[in-house]
Amino acid sequence: MTAIRAIQPVKPIAPRRHLRPVPATKTQRTVVSARTASREQARAVLKSVSGRIIVGGIAIVVLNMILSSLANASIYEISQLKKETATLGTQTQIINQQVASLRSPQNLATSAKELGMVVNSNPVFLSVKQAKVFGAATPASASNSGVSSNLIANAAMFTTSKPENYKASQVSVIDVPELSSVKADKSVQVQVVLPSEGIPASPTH
């Protein structure tokens, strides 16, 4: 029997596996779960990195656009402000030249003459320190006031005063308060500093 059975062709039959779920051992469970977790973590990291790179990239582009537009706006603003500065500088120069013309001695002398002013060549000096009057007061007169007309050239004088605007009849009278209503301001301490020698001269030109 054994031989017959031995020579009979035998249809190979794959061993049948009887797989059945078995509870995983502790070690197996750990390996599988760790592998899965690390992949998930890696995926999460990848997702996160990719996301951050994309978001960062977009942010950089947006930021760059904002900064660029801001910078461009600033550049144009600066340029505009520089133009305005130049314009204002030119206007300042015009005004300064007008002031220089008006305060030039040539203009002042001419204006003073037109207003009928004459130089007092015999001034009287008051010495506060010595309580003395020096000199004899004499009225100023046109005949004794020296050179009155301007004789000095000034090609830079392009603006001149208009003394006719300052004549007494055309100047509005300012209301002056009654003396009794004026009270001394004690808060202001006027200190007259006298030079060691001489008498203080008027600072006016």
């Binding site: 899965t36 992949r39 998930e40 890696a42 995926r43 990848l46 997702k47 990195v49 990719s50 790179i53 600033s74 550049i75 144009y76 600066i78 340029s79 314009t87 030119t90 206007q91 120069q93 015009i94 030249q97 220089a100 013309s101 030039s104 001695p105 040539q106 002398a109 060549s121 015999n122 001034p123 000096f125 010495s127 020096f134 000199g135 004899a136 020296g146 050179v147 301007n150 004789l151 000095i152 050239a153 000034n154 090609a155 830079a156 004088m157 392009f158 030079p195 001489g198 008498i199 203080p200 001269a201 030109h205």
Partner: protein, 583 residues
């Protein structure tokens, strides 16, 4: 839960992104590091601009800070002829068309030039035509506001002198290209001129400068200010007087100098005619300098106090030393020395010799001092040498060595002939009397002040002790008598003040002899009891008055102005009682 394919896709994506980043980094490195310089150069050539920043020239100011010379901007107005055409201007909010001819007329009106000239320059195929050089800021603003596309401007620095001819003789002027040509503009150029800077920057296609790209290659350094000792108000008053003197005397020129006795500071150095630096071409060339420092001539009797002071200082005479002074004195070698007018012999003291300005008297008393000593004193008074004021073209005058003096010159130098002085040298002599016998180097430039306000004071020559204090005082006593008792000197009196001074009527050398016209002068100091100011007035070639009467009114006016300006109280003492004559 876990998707292998997704994971792999993420991995691939990450690798690709990383690879891309690496490529970018590599490329960026190429641009930024490896080939950076090459690209930078290319970029620079395309957008970088190099600009010279012009340094602003410093100001010239007076002792009170008033500006006498400064720098402003003017504009060269240019057009682009090939693009010239009709324009539409905004007139009061309305668009108004202008033809080429109309706009030319409008521009001509603003620039104050002829319409024909504008039209001729508007025609042509060129890209440049200059309409006007140095247009003012007002003209520039009006034209710029028109916004005409074919007009463009070049801004330039221009020198501006707000007080015109006030101190024009001192300040000098610059050429049209800004180069200093005369006066302090030239001598003080190292202080006034700054150093130009250089910078590069990048600009966009619209020519806008990119601020972050500015690179300073050389920093600009603006010029410093020159501070003068003069007071411009006083200078103006003095110039008015000398201008009036020139008119009154029909003189070639006149000058007035004010010196502060104890410091040597020149407070005014006025002359007429003089130059307005804004328009130097308006006066003749000989009137563009300063004769105060540059013109030397024989001063005449103004020098008698030098001979008198020398005699006093060497103890050969006192103010009361007596002499008989005829109107003409025969010299041992046969020549005569005469006084300016005929008169009987006068019994004069040395003070009287000065008061009467006697030639015959001064040579008798002054001649008691030997020639070598007199020459030594004249040198100590500063004759024959520059004053140290360091003004361009300053003359040292002429004082020949006493060994070369002939017999006549040996006498003539005592009354101001045979020796030449500039007006500033003459003024310095009287400054010596006023400063107790010590001569100071005149100061015109106080110093150079940088933009931080630091003043580098001008180096001055050391002071020179010429006379003892006593001799200087005695000389002033004698000079007071000139003003009190001198026939011409008394016209130099100033009410309330003690004044000391000396007249001078000097013959002017012409050819081998002397001409008919005179240099008339008066130099004085006040108050005599404590001299503070010296005023020297000279009129050259007076044609109406041939003696110092032509100069004393100018002296009085200027000295009064000085005393008023500086608040000098009138004198409270009287002069010393020194006789001028004897019996």
């Amino acid at each position: 839960m876990f998707n292998e394919a997704t994971f792999r896709r993420h991995q691939v994506l990450a690798v690709l992104v990383l690879a891309l980043i690496l490529v970018f980094i590599a490329r960026l490195s190429w641009f930024q590091i490896t080939a950076a310089e090459q690209y930078r150069e290319e970029a620079r050539d395309a957008i970088e601009v190099t600009r010279t920043i012009e340094a602003v020239r410093g100001d010239i100011v007076d002792s009170e800070g008033n500006v006498l010379a400064t720098t402003i901007f003017t504009w060269d107005v240019n057009i682009d002829p090939v693009n010239v055409g009709p324009v539409t201007l905004d007139i009061n909010g309305r668009k108004t068309p202008f033809t080429k001819e109309e706009i030319a007329e409008y521009i001509a009106g603003i620039l104050k030039i002829s319409t024909k000239s504008v039209l001729s320059k508007m025609t042509g195929e060129g890209r440049y035509a200059n309409l006007k050089q140095r247009a003012t800021a007002t003209q520039f603003t009006r034209l710029k506001n028109l916004d005409i596309p074919w007009i463009y401007f070049d801004r330039k620095q221009t020198r501006y002198y707000p007080q015109g001819a006030v101190a024009g003789n001192l300040v000098g002027f610059v050429g049209t290209d800004g180069s200093p040509l005369a006066g302090l503009e030239r001598t003080m150029n190292s202080c006034l001129a700054g150093t130009d800077g250089k910078e590069t920057y990048e600009q966009g296609a619209d020519l806008i400068k990119i601020p972050s790209s500015i690179r300073t290659i050389t920093p600009v350094r603006d010029g410093s200010d020159v501070v003068l000792s003069i007071n411009s108000d006083l200078q103006y008053a003095a110039q008015q007087e000398v201008a009036a003197t020139v008119r009154r005397l029909q003189a070639d020129w006149a000058s007035a100098i004010v010196i502060e006795a104890k410091t040597g500071k020149i407070l005014a150095a006025a002359e007429a005619p003089t130059v307005d630096p804004n328009k130097p071409g308006a006066v003749r060339e000989q009137n563009r300098g300063s004769r105060i420092f540059q013109a030397a001539f024989e001063p005449g009797s103004i020098l008698k106090p030098v001979a008198a002071a020398t005699a006093v200082d060497t103890k050969e005479a006192t103010p009361t030393t007596q002499v008989v002074a005829p109107d003409s004195l025969r010299m041992p070698w046969g020549q005569y020395i005469n006084d300016s007018n005929a008169h009987p012999p006068q019994k004069l003291t040395l003070a009287g010799v000065l008061a009467k300005s006697s030639n015959t008297g001064i040579i008798q008393i002054g001649g008691k001092v030997d020639s070598a000593t007199r020459y030594e004193y004249m040198q100590k008074f500063g004759m024959g040498q520059k004053t140290g004021v360091n003004f361009e073209g300053e003359s040292s005058g002429v004082l020949a060595d006493y060994k070369t003096w002939d017999k006549m010159t040996d006498k003539a130098v005592m009354f101001g002939q045979g020796v030449s002085l500039t007006p500033i040298q003459t003024a310095a002599i009287f400054q010596t009397f006023a400063n107790k016998g010590i001569r100071l180097s005149p100061v015109l430039v106080s110093g150079c002040r940088d933009k931080d306000g630091n003043l580098s004071s001008t180096k001055v020559e050391p002071e020179v002790r010429v006379l003892s204090e006593s001799s200087a005082s005695q000389t002033i006593d004698m000079l007071e008598k000139v003003v009190e008792k001198g026939p011409i000197g008394r016209t130099a009196r100033i009410f309330g003040y003690r004044v000391a001074g000396k007249t001078g009527t000097a013959q002017i050398a012409e050819g081998k002899g002397y001409g008919k016209l005179y240099a008339v002068s008066f130099v004085g100091l006040a108050p005599a009891e404590d001299p503070k100011y010296v005023v020297a007035v000279t009129a050259y070639k007076s044609r109406t008055i041939s003696n110092s009467l032509g100069a004393t009114p100018g002296f009085v006016a200027v000295m009064k102005q000085v005393l008023k300006t500086y608040g000098i109280p009138p004198s409270t003492t009287k002069s010393k009682n020194i006789p001028t004559e004897w019996k």
